[in-house]
C-alpha cells in the first residue's frame, strides 16, 4: 500500500499515524509538505491530526483552502481513498469531503481520554477487519470534535450507512459515553461512496499493546489488506 500523509504547518500527529501505517503495511508513507506542488500517486491519502495553521479561526478552515487540499479533493472524487483523522476530519468537513461540521466540545474543554466506539459498519475498506456492532477502545484528543449536521443530512447518513463509528459505553450503549456532545454520538462518518472516512478518535494511538492497546490496528490492517 502506497500512502501519503499530509503535513501542514501545525500538524502534529503525522508521525503517530505514519508509524501505525508502517506497522500494518510494512512500508513507510510519503510525508507530503503542504507547499509541495505535487501529491505522489498513492493508494491512500491521510490527513493527520494537529492544529493546522494554529486552528485559530475555525478548526481546519485555513488548511481547507490550501492548494494541496484542492488536489486531495480532486483525487478523492476520482475514488482515491482518504483517511482524515481529528484535525484531518475537520479539514475534510470544511471542504465537504465528508458531510457535517465539527464544533467546539459541548463542555468547552480539550479532552484527551480513551473512549469506547461502536463500529457501525464493517462494510468498508476501512472497517472490514472489525465486526459490525463491535465495541473498540481508542483515544480522543481534541477541543473541537462536537459533530453536527442538519436533520436531512443525518437522515441521509443513517439511511445509507455512512455513520462509521459512534461513541458508546463499554456495553455498546450509544446513548452514553459521548465525550464532546456530538449529535447522535457520531464519532466518524464516510462520504457517500465510503472511500473517505473522517473520524475524531485516534486509531493510530491504539496500535501497540503497551502504548494504548491495539484496538485501532485493525483499521490500518484493513487498509493494508484492501489496498495492495
Amino acid at each position: 500500500m502506497k500512502s501519503a500523509v499530509l503535513v501542514f504547518p501545525g500538524t502534529n500527529r503525522e508521525t503517530d499515524i505514519a508509524g501505525a501505517i508502517e506497522r500494518s503495511a510494512g512500508i513507510k508513507p510519503h510525508m507530503v509538505w503542504h507547499g509541495d506542488s505535487d501529491l505522489p500517486k498513492v493508494d491512500l491519502i491521510v490527513v493527520a491530526g494537529g492544529f493546522s495553521y494554529g486552528d485559530y479561526l475555525r478548526c481546519g478552515a485555513m488548511a481547507a483552502h490550501s492548494p494541496i487540499m484542492r488536489e486531495v479533493k480532486a483525487r478523492a472524487e476520482k475514488g482515491v481513498p482518504v483517511l482524515a483523522v481529528c484535525n484531518g476530519f475537520q479539514i475534510a468537513a470544511e471542504i465537504g469531503l465528508v458531510p457535517g461540521v465539527l464544533m467546539r466540545n459541548a463542555h468547552l474543554q480539550f479532552v484527551c481520554s480513551d473512549v469506547n466506539l461502536k463500529v457501525e459498519s464493517s462494510q468498508s475498506l476501512f472497517t472490514h477487519r472489525y465486526q459490525a456492532g463491535q465495541v473498540i477502545r481508542v483515544p480522543v484528543a481534541h477541543a473541537e470534535g462536537n459533530y453536527f449536521a442538519d436533520d436531512d443530512t443525518l437522515k441521509r447518513l443513517e439511511d445509507r450507512g455512512q455513520v462509521a463509528f459512534r461513541y458508546c459505553d463499554s456495553t455498546g450503549d450509544v446513548t452514553a459515553g459521548n465525550p464532546n456532545g456530538s449529535i447522535r454520538n457520531i464519532a466518524g462518518v464516510f462520504n457517500d461512496t465510503k472511500t473517505v472516512l473522517g473520524m475524531m478518535p485516534h486509531p493510530e494511538n491504539a496500535t501497540e499493546a503497551l502504548f494504548g492497546g491495539t484496538d485501532g490496528k485493525p483499521l490500518f490492517d484493513a487498509l493494508a489488506a484492501a489496498l495492495v
Partner: protein, 80 residues
C-alpha cells in the same frame, strides 16, 4: 478603509459557548440574563477605497474563509 465582520451561529445551531456564559452569569449573580449567543468579530484594514468593491471582496472573504456558511451567518460593515 476599515471593515468589521461579525460571524454568528445560525439560529437552531447549538451554541455551547453562549450557553456556558449564560450559566456562569447566573451563578455569578446575574439572574436577569436570558439567552446568550457568542460570535466572532473580525476587524480588517483594507487597501481599498471604493465601498462597493470593498463589500464584494469582503463578501468573498467571508464565504471563502471567515465563516462556515453551513452553521454560521456573517454580517459586513464598513467603518471608514
Amino acid at each position: 478603509m476599515k471593515a468589521r465582520v461579525h460571524v454568528t451561529l445560525k439560529t437552531g445551531v447549538l451554541d455551547p459557548q453562549g450557553k456556558a456564559i449564560g450559566n456562569a452569569l447566573h451563578r455569578l449573580g446575574f439572574p436577569e440574563v436570558g439567552d446568550v449567543r457568542q460570535g466572532k468579530f473580525i476587524e480588517l484594514e483594507l487597501a481599498e477605497t471604493d465601498a462597493d468593491r470593498a463589500k464584494s471582496r469582503l463578501d468573498e472573504m467571508c464565504r471563502k474563509l471567515l465563516a462556515n456558511t453551513v452553521i454560521e451567518n456573517y454580517r459586513i460593515e464598513l467603518v471608514s
